[in-house]
Amino acid sequence: MSKFQPITFYSKEPGNVSEQYQLLPFRFTRFEDSSYVATNIAGEYTILDHSTLQAFVNHKLTATDPAYITLRAKHFLSDSHSQMGPDLLAIKVRTRHERLAHWTGLHIFVLTLRCEHSCPYCQVSRQSEDKDAFDMSLQHAERGIALALESPNLNIKIEFQGGESFLSFDMMKFIVETATVLNAKLPQPKNLSFVAATNLAVITEEMLDFCAAYNIDISTSLDGPRDLHNKNRPRPGKDSYERTIAGIDLVRKRLGRDKVNALMTTTLASLPLVREIVDEYLTQGFKGIFFRPLSPYGFAIKTKFFRAYNAEQWLKFYDDGLDYIIELNRYGVDFREYYAATILTKMLTSQDPGYVDLMSPAGIGLGAVIYNYDGAVYASDEARMLAEMGDMTFKLGTVEDSFETLFTNDVFLMALEESFAYSSPQCNDCAFEPWCGADPVFHWGQQQDFSGKKWESEFCHRNMHIFKGLVSRMETDPFVKNLFMRWANGC
């Protein structure tokens, strides 16, 4: 028997124009005036005009219509030519959600709340440098390590945060050394890695030697050019920028060029300076930037920094910055915007990059868990920021609790269930749901609602705008489509 279909199978003659087809699960959302973005259950998308969408849903689309071929290729329909469609879709869905079965991989230790910076937008409600009461104890650190190693995930990343994490360097050393020893004793040792979030202002050669010995990555803050950075990030000596740049240089020389990444935070003063901020990142030899708005937590709320600009202003900043980065790439400069790249990975591949804010079920607890300096355990970094403001909703328990007790916390499970975008009102119908996430901490903080009223949600508004902007740029410019494909695949 031939392994190949007869030639008539591939015919586009009128004989099989009225092909019977079955719809596969998909969603659609209005895109431009008369067109829609449609996504299948695995997040692949296509653009359809209204009449094509209507014909498709009503089984009136003919097999010779170009849209039919696309819809079949992207698993929006199955017919006699594509009986494998549902199986392939299932494999893609499985790949996209494979993180769920692995459980929590990122374990964040808040070593201290002390910090020598006094940034008015700080989301961590820092304490002054001399208050030892805000440091993690050995006992709490030991319990945190035990919990981290108890996670079923074979890839465990321990991240150190503050305050300024290197102000508690002895504790960092203790956790790294203890976790490494205990991990080696496990029947099946995990792939253990470390990252330290730091402003680099107090980093020393001794600290760098230790980071080199244990392969610790460095994540720092760089808000832009000198004046902007120093304005945003005041410290004694008014030299935050100089110390950060010197620190980046030291880390690269001692640990390697790719061992340091930087994050920026957008303040009101940043808004007119997006090109200068990108240029600063280029000057410092970074391969990309993550445009990050202010988060509504901690000092950013107390000092009213969070409300200094609105969503529309930030989105204009984002659009201008993204367009500038695209222009740089047209001139051969290899540089990317990491938030766009994260979304594009979800749009254009079957992978989920595991970015906590864009996960559904929500990434809280499942994607990351926080061991606070005082022994409290929170479902996310934002959850502990909310707790510093007096709202303990997302406190899972303490490090003295068992792993099972922490992760079967009733409020935590309720937040996951109620915010699950797949069944959340409006998200359930939204074509962008496979690319988006549930952010119950943000919505609880803003609206006292785990799911959030989407018509009032800044999270929804911001992400919808970015999703549409990415699709629009790809659909109108082949260069951008090619560029975005590379960003999506990490090339």
Partner: protein, 107 residues
């Protein structure tokens, strides 16, 4: 409070589609939805938050109800295959039991 009324034929539109369309525009108005029997028209009274936007909102609501009705057609028609795909996708994760019940322990 400015208000207006819209009616949808129950032969062409489901109550759920109308409810979802109204929910979509909750930022602009509140709604009272009534249907006296399964075959009688679905009536919505629209209470506007801001007067003067009646015409635009009425037009948008009609379009949205049509979209929601199409979504319902897709959802109903693909329910079986969607469940099959999801069951297959999660079959080896331990998140779904063979009898279709959720696992006893969530971790």
């Amino acid at each position: 409070m400015a208000q207006f009324t819209l009616e949808f034929d129950a032969k062409g539109y489901s109550l759920l589609a109308v409810q979802k369309a109204c929910h979509r525009y909750s930022d602009q108005a509140s709604f009272e939805i009534t249907q006296t029997s399964e075959t009688s028209p679905i009536q919505i009274i629209v209470f506007l938050r801001l007067a003067g936007s009646e015409e635009t909102l009425a037009q948008n609501l009609r379009i949205e109800v049509l979209d929601q009705q199409m979504r319902e057609v897709v959802r109903v028609e693909t329910a079986g295959v969607r469940n099959l795909i999801l069951a297959h996708a999660f079959s080896r994760t331990g998140l779904i039991r063979e009898d279709g019940q959720p696992p006893e322990i969530l971790i």
